[in-house]
């Protein structure tokens, strides 16, 4: 589904990603872990096409297409969804209008007719139920005045609405209490199937108790320095990141 080769990226002239190689197939869950500042969030931002970052070298192919050549909205419509670490507030734009634009944007991209207002509202109701989100969240402006937990739940709700094939969860567990963490993780798990894949970016092991990865990659100084299975996360939890830092100092 996604093939990343020798990916380099920079912000303000400073190189953050220094040669990433990664292969992700449908049905798989990959966790990307690493100490702060290792480039985890940059990787997700670059894949989603955040214009703040510049790709300086390498390639990323998504479903056979050149991902890096696409606009952010085309990447989304191809099935790439990023659950943001810090979802931005958009005052004045209601959740309903926002999601309708998103859902119909995707349908248009595929050459489908827009959903009628009735069908759209019905879809919202179903998905809200699926991810256990309070119905009043959708009556408000996008993320405006949401608590940290509400923002993350809202990301998962949007994921349910848009049914992406590649789900990138950027530090989705940060700032969540245990109940919110469970709701978010359950949402992600419920929505998992053989056609989609998941990249979980996290600093800690605890999210991986709920979303069990097939592979764990350790990112350090802009490179994947180690790949293993879920046991690697337990080892990290126990030993911390210092031994990684020591081993891959340069």
């Amino acid at each position: 589904m996604l093939t990343i080769k020798n990916l380099h990226a920079a912000i303000d002239g400073k190189e953050i990603l220094r040669g990433i190689d990664l292969e992700i197939k449908a049905g798989e869950t990959h966790a990307i872990m690493g100490p702060n500042g290792s480039g985890k969030s940059t990787l997700s931002a670059v894949l989603a096409g955040n214009p703040l970052f510049t790709v300086t070298e390498g390639s990323a192919t998504f479903n056979g297409k050149d991902l890096l050549a696409m606009s952010p909205e085309d990447r989304a419509n191809e099935g790439l969804f990023l659950s943001f670490q810090y979802p931005v507030e958009i005052p004045g734009v209601s959740m309903t209008n926002f999601l309708r634009a998103a859902v119909n944007g995707k349908r248009k991209y595929r050459g489908e007719e827009p959903l009628s207002a009735g069908d759209f509202l019905k879809l919202m109701r179903e998905k809200k139920k699926l991810v256990e989100i309070d119905s009043n969240l959708t009556n408000r402006a996008v993320n405006e005045g949401f608590s940290g937990g509400e923002k993350k739940k809202n990301e998962i709700f949007q994921m349910a609405m848009l049914e992406p094939t590649l789900r990138i969860l950027d530090e989705t567990d940060s700032g969540l209490d245990i109940d919110a963490l469970r709701i978010v993780a359950n949402g992600v798990t419920k929505l998992k199937n053989e056609q989609n894949a998941t990249i979980v970016i996290t600093h800690y092991q605890r999210l991986l108790d709920y979303i069990v990865p097939d592979f764990i990659h350790i990112l350090y100084k802009g490179r994947i320095v180690m790949t293993g299975t879920k046991e690697l996360a337990l080892e990290l939890e126990e030993k911390g990141y210092d031994w990684i830092k020591e081993k891959y100092q340069d």
Binding site: S71, F84, G92, V93, F98, G105, Y109
Partner: protein, 246 residues
């Protein structure tokens, strides 16, 4: 009521409440309004079709004790329009709300000059003017709040925001305060900026194309004013004019 271009007088009698919607199309407005004690007026001065010739609107409003004025000045695609609005808060406890929205594109020129004179104590004024400027539009907002000696317990807040969509758009702001009483709370704020890049990216990440996302964000910017207009029909008309086709 329609505009004649001549001086027109409106008086709201004691204790009465009225809503007047005036459409500015090809005639200047020259209004002299008195709102008597305890009376209330909602006035909407709107231009929603491109005007063929240069227009001016001059409105002077005299507010007596405990009266309320709520005035909305709306200009969509104006061509050389100058609005002057003078509000005199003459009696204690009078309350003025001034809202303005201007959406100007290529060839557009719009000037809003407002003066709120707090002559009496215990009066409140709230002012919000927002402008969306595209093409080579030029907009000027000159807002004065003046508090006379003795007009204690005045509360006045004025806000002006410009959203610039094009490198050729030009926004001027002159939010002025002249304060001659000490027991007052007066403030103003003015900003100029463009569409927030982070919000735009977030929407694109959800598959909304850049043009639609921008339209939604522009409409949201305008909606803050639209929502304050005390007339359902006008709100609907503006929402339709501004709404993104999604």
């Amino acid at each position: 009521m329609t505009l004649t271009g001549e001086k027109q007088h409106i008086t709201i009698d004691r204790g009465q409440s009225e809503t007047i919607v005036l459409t500015v199309a090809d005639t200047n407005a020259d209004l002299e309004i008195t709102i008597n004690g305890g009376a209330e007026l909602n006035l909407i001065l709107k231009q929603t079709t491109v005007n063929a010739k240069a227009l001016t609107t001059n409105t002077t409003i005299n507010c007596e004790a405990n009266s309320r004025i709520n005035i909305s000045t709306i200009n969509i695609e104006p061509r050389n329009i100058a609005n002057t609005l003078i509000v005199n808060l003459n009696g204690e406890g009078a309350e003025a709300t001034l809202n303005g929205l201007y959406v100007a594109g290529a060839g557009g020129a719009i000037e809003n000059r407002t003066e709120i004179h707090h002559h009496a104590a215990h009066c409140t004024s709230t002012e919000l003017y927002k402008g969306i400027l595209d093409g080579n539009a030029v907009a000027k907002f000159a807002g004065l709040i003046q508090v006379a000696p003795g007009a204690q317990k005045t509360a006045a807040r004025q806000t002006n925001r410009h959203l610039l969509l094009s490198p050729d758009a030009h926004g001027y702001a002159q939010p002025h305060l002249i304060i001659n009483a000490d027991d007052v709370k007066c403030s103003h704020g003015a900003t100029s900026g463009q569409i927030d890049r982070e919000q735009l990216f977030y929407m694109q990440q959800r598959g909304i194309d850049a043009a639609t996302a921008q339209r939604l964000l522009v409409a949201a910017f305008a909606n803050e004013v639209v929502a304050l207009i005390p007339d359902e029909a006008t709100r609907q008309e503006l929402t339709a004019l501004l709404s993104a086709d999604v």
